[in-house]
Subunit: 331 residues, 2 copies
DNA sequence: CGATCGCTTTACAACGTTGTACCAACGATG
DNA sequence: CATCGTTGGTACAACGTTGTAAAGCGATCG
């Protein structure tokens, strides 16, 4: 592989001059610049990023830390982050934590301070305080949970409001026994969506029945199906369900079908995330649609600014969302 | 951040001795080893991978090049590759090509020879000859398409046989007008699955009707839906459809429902890939289930061996598959 | 008792790049 | 004509790591 040395030899100039041309330094004699550029293409020179990193202290890598790629929301998000990062000439290192707190710890620790310029983290189990100790000095942008008290950059939608809108939609259909699937003791987003759920019920003058709030350990299809089965087996089953993500909703729809409950006639279902899958399921899912592209873009932009100026005050970016109404809540 | 120098100073030994301890060199006096290890933990030393790369010539990175993360099959595969790579102490760099030949070219070219130890590529549009020129000297393992003539390591299932089995299953249900969705002029896997389709029909003494072979530009849900709509609009619609991946099948099922065709009563549907989504769709999908974990493991193993010994003859690994029969073909 | 051997450690150089310091040529200025 | 600033170029060191060569040190052998 061609190095600066090779190119310099071919062009008849010093190594540094070639480096200057490569880096767009202004004061290079046109004649020399031409010669160097020729030599550059002739040798097919590619800078050695490891060496550059060693010298400059920047790696050109960004870590995207998320629970699981098999969860469509994260897969879609990852794709968008990849695209956004490319525009900043960043390469993306995707790390799966598998949703465990340990996984999130290990990942951040193992990446070390040298390998990445910064990280975009979608925390699931990670607690607030963990960040300071785990990623000392690593610029981090958090996704999802909105904890204003943390001195960390953050991007996300207003989860409380989004959940409220979703449940208000169910209320608007005339449903009164509205269940929630996805409560979780240690997840920030779960708490916020639950809060929005409560708020919508309160606004409608409906009571919050604890037996209609189903927890979900993970947010997979299986968990949604199990929760829905439990709910439908009750003496007074719900006439609507708000699921904290689309996967839960897909599982819930499936479980409803298996138990002979019609969606939306007997149970209306609302999901969250607007994954493509929800648009094709039978019935198609009404869902909260966060602007994922905006999230990805904002996260990368924020990280860029943080890297360029580590001292700046942390910023909280709220990205827009909308409610997409489809068959699962349309008589 | 602590460097070897810092650790050495603290332990009162030379830098190299610390390096030796870090790298597990056998001949270090126990006393010194102890002191170094203490200093190591005291300083929280983490090797600088860029520097190590520069020195060793290995980066510790592996590129996973695939069309799109939003396609569940690739998301699942990516997750598994991430896991398998971890066991080899490899970090994974995921690159999306978006299925275009240009994307695949650019990706391989931009990664350059320095950034990665090797690449696992799931080609979609890339032509056979492209590899030699694009990735000169980069160890590559190909996934999916099985082109024995290429001097490149390769992992995949027997696509022809898998397709044959899938279609034979439909034949076994007594279906006679069996359609195929997913034909594509430039995709190796498409050609092979089509071949398996033809073979199964031939074995059953059924004619191959060209009007029952639907092409799909991409392999997304939308394409499956469009193809299914076209097929069902025909004078003599099919009574079964073999889709070249699960996404196409999901789209096909949706289109069938929209046109009032019952699955499987009116049209039986078989997918390919055994994505989790297919197991929860209504009806759940009968599908060809490649052993994705085996594919991921084999690919990483193969790459490891190729990296360690660039001269070895290329190997073609066939991973197992099975047919998972579910509601979409069960009366 | 000197030579030899195995273990242990170290100094040094090098990987490819870029920042710093410095030098040289040049035209313009006083 | 001496001085100065601008422009263009180079040599050198350093980023953190590890391979190489070599040296120090006991112990063992002839």
């Amino acid at each position: 592989m061609a190095t600066l040395k090779d190119v310099a030899a071919l062009a008849g100039v010093s190594v540094k001059t070639v480096s200057n041309v490569v880096n767009g330094y202004a004061f290079v004699k046109p004649e020399n610049r031409r010669r160097v550029e020729e030599a550059l293409t002739a040798t097919g020179y590619r800078p050695h990023l490891g060496a550059r990193n060693l010298r400059r202290g920047r790696t050109g890598f960004l870590a995207l830390v998320l629970p699981e790629l098999v969860v469509p929301y994260f897969a879609e998000l990852a794709g968008l982050v990849l695209g956004a990062a490319q525009e900043h000439e960043w390469n993306v290192l995707i790390e799966q934590t598998l949703g465990t707190r340990e996984g999130e710890r290990d990942t951040l620790a193992s990446l070390g301070p040298h390998m990445i310029d910064g990280a975009i983290v979608s925390p699931e189990a990670l607690q607030a305080g963990d960040f300071g100790e785990l990623a000392p000095g690593i610029p981090v942008v958090m996704l999802g949970e909105h904890s204003v008290d943390l001195p960390i950059d953050h991007v996300g939608i207003d989860n409380v409001e989004a959940a409220r809108v979703a449940v208000a939609h169910l209320v608007g259909l005339g449903r009164t026994r509205i269940a929630a699937i996805g409560a979780h003791p240690h997840r920030g987003t779960a708490a916020q969506r639950l809060e929005g759920y409560r708020r919508a019920l309160a606004e409608a003058g409906l009571p919050v029945r604890e037996e209609l709030v189903a927890t979900a350990v993970n947010y997979h299809r299986r968990d949604g199906a199990e929760a829905m089965s439990r709910l439908l087996a009750a003496v007074e089953p719900p006439d609507a369900v708000f699921c904290f993500n689309d996967l839960l909703a897909v599982g819930a729809v499936r479980a409803a079908a298996e138990r002979g409950a019609r969606v939306p006639d007997d149970v209306a279902v609302v999901g969250f995330d607007n994954t493509e899958e929800g648009g094709y399921s039978l019935p198609s899912l009404t869902t909260v649609a966060p602007d994922k592209a905006a999230i990805a873009r904002a996260a990368v932009d924020l990280l860029r600014r943080r890297v360029d100026d580590p001292g700046r005050p942390p910023e909280h970016v709220r990205t827009p969302f909308s409610l997409v109404v489809r068959e699962s809540t349309r008589g």
